[in-house]
């Protein structure tokens, strides 16, 4: 399969507000794709289309197609539970449950009844290792996750996703609550994770997009104005509006 996620003429309305306009995007597997654009242009909305989280909001109407591995996920009757197991989401603010470190990571395993008995412990360990948290956490598994630092919390949230063995990780400004050093660590982690997972990151930070992503999409007022190789989008944009934005002349 050449593309992990593909949309065609994707339109989304919040009531009468047209938030996504004919979005056509193709996400390649095992890569980091960045979505950039000014505040309110619809980045988060687009991201939430991929795990159908927009449908929780009242008055949302979606038209168009979203294919995951070539299969349309937007058909009603599709199993949301299964979809969200495959397409996980990391949020802007680190948001562990007020449970122990262990229970946080095991949450998804329990939701999907994936593992039993000792296998749960093994899977938790593997998920914590995947985000480089294991050494710091192995003696603190029963501490409250709320006591961790912001960076550790965000790593924990990523572990919690990785534990259910997803295919796609959606990250909505995952570093905006972190300091520069923690941001650097999380970016490093993303590069490692991209060997196994397809990652889509929304970011306000253009340097970050340039640093971590292979492909970048620029959105403006609900439109996907430009999409392509990150380097080309930043150095040689095809659209005047993209150029204005990446050179800081916009808004």
């Amino acid at each position: 399969m050449k593309y992990k996620i593909q949309t065609s003429s994707l339109n989304l309305h919040y009531g009468s507000f047209h938030a996504l306009k004919d979005v056509f995007i193709r996400i390649r597997p095992r890569m980091i794709t960045a979505i950039i654009g000014p505040s309110g242009c619809g980045k988060s909305t687009l991201l939430r289309c991929f795990n159908r989280m927009n449908e929780r909001t009242a008055g949302v109407q979606i038209r168009g197609h979203i294919l995951l591995d070539g299969q349309d996920i937007s058909q009603t009757g599709n199993d949301l539970t299964q979809l969200r197991k495959r397409v996980g989401m990391v949020f802007q603010r680190p948001n562990p449950f007020p449970l122990s470190v262990f229970d946080n990571v095991a949450y998804g395993l329990r939701v999907h009844a994936m593992k039993k008995g000792a296998a749960v412990g093994k899977a938790v360990e593997a998920a914590l290792r995947a985000t480089d948290l294991w050494d710091a956490m192995k003696d603190n598994l029963h501490r409250s996750a709320l006591e961790l630092s912001a960076e550790q919390q965000q790593r924990l949230c990523i572990s919690r996703l990785v534990a259910v063995e997803p295919e796609v990780l959606l990250m909505d400004e995952p570093c905006s609550a972190l300091d520069p050093i923690a941001t650097e660590h999380v970016e490093e982690l993303m590069r490692v994770l991209a060997e196994k997972y397809t990652i889509i990151i929304v970011t306000h930070n253009m340097q970050q997009a340039a640093r971590v992503s292979q492909e970048t999409g620029f959105m403006l007022l609900g439109e996907l104005v430009e999409f392509g190789q990150t380097e080309r989008v930043f150095t040689n944009p095809a659209d005047k509006r993209t150029e204005d934005y990446v050179t800081g002349r916009y808004g």
Partner: protein
């Protein structure tokens, strides 16, 4: 004359201290007055024997048992129903006319005097359903009475759970029910417990509603279909009919101490559970 900000702050603090102090003083006075007159009449016999000659002599054991039955049963009925209603209102429906009506109804019920609940219980449970004066009639009536409190406090507690927990849980593919039972109820538990403890307090101290439904039999209740007099009703009858003021105060002391005990136990339980959950 203008008062400087510094002075007005001083005055405000003093006045508030005085009011708070006065409230506490009145409370302390009432409690110590009752305990002063009551504690010295509390003996082992008083706690372990049935009353004699209408309560002039003997103890209050049947009333203690009756109170435990009526209150315990009432809360056991009201808590699951109330918490379920709160979950439905917050998690399973969208805000709309229906939820507004249910909420308005609950608020109205909360404001109705207990004697009205007693009258309803008397007409409906005691007579129409033929349950007679019984622990069951009393418990059902009290359950109706405290239901609005449990619904509203649980609802507030559930609403206070951050939305992000729900987003994460759904984002991981959980069903609504998994989210409610594993995340929401767990975080809302202290608030829900507060409502339940309040309800226990209200049930224990109720007199009018239980008089009309649980009755005032002084015998030892052998089943929930028998009438039983609760401690607060016993106190009311002893003092109103001038049977024995010393035994009335002793009964009141038992009541106060047990409410205190229940509250302490509830807080201890809550602290322990919360500490474990976090």
């Amino acid at each position: 004359m203008r008062i400087s900000p510094k002075h007005s702050q001083r005055i405000a603090v003093t006045v508030m201290w005085a009011i708070a102090g006065l409230t506490l003083a009145v409370l302390a006075f009432i409690i110590s007055y009752i305990l002063w007159h009551g504690l010295r009449h509390i003996t082992w016999t008083f706690l372990t024997e049935p009353p004699q000659s209408m309560g002039r002599e003997g103890g209050v054991l049947p009333m203690i048992v009756g109170t435990l039955w009526v209150t315990g049963l009432a809360v056991l009925i009201a808590a699951p129903v109330g918490i379920a209603a709160a979950i439905y209102l917050t998690e399973y429906t969208r805000e709309g006319r229906m939820t507004a009506i249910i909420r308005f109804g609950a608020d109205c019920l909360a404001g109705i005097p207990s004697i009205i609940f007693g009258l309803f219980g008397f007409v409906f449970f005691v007579i129409t359903l033929g349950m007679g004066f019984s622990i069951l009639s009393g418990a059902l009536t009290l359950a109706l009475m405290v239901l609005p409190t449990i619904i509203r406090t649980s609802e507030e507690a559930i609403r206070a759970v951050p939305k992000s927990y729900r987003d994460v849980s759904f984002g991981l593919g959980s069903t609504r029910w998994q989210m409610v039972t594993w995340v929401v109820l767990r975080s809302a538990l202290p608030g829900i417990c507060t409502g339940v403890v309040l309800s226990i307090g209200r049930s224990i101290s109720e007199t009018a509603a239980v008089m009309l439904t649980a009755g005032s039999a002084m015998g030892f209740p052998h089943s929930i279909f028998e009438s039983s007099r609760t401690l607060s009703l016993h106190f009311y009858i002893l003092s109103r009919e001038g049977i024995s003021m010393s035994n009335a105060y002793a009964t009141a002391s038992v009541l106060i101490l047990s409410i205190l005990g229940i509250n302490l136990f509830a807080y201890w339980l809550m602290r322990r559970f919360v500490a474990k959950a976090v």
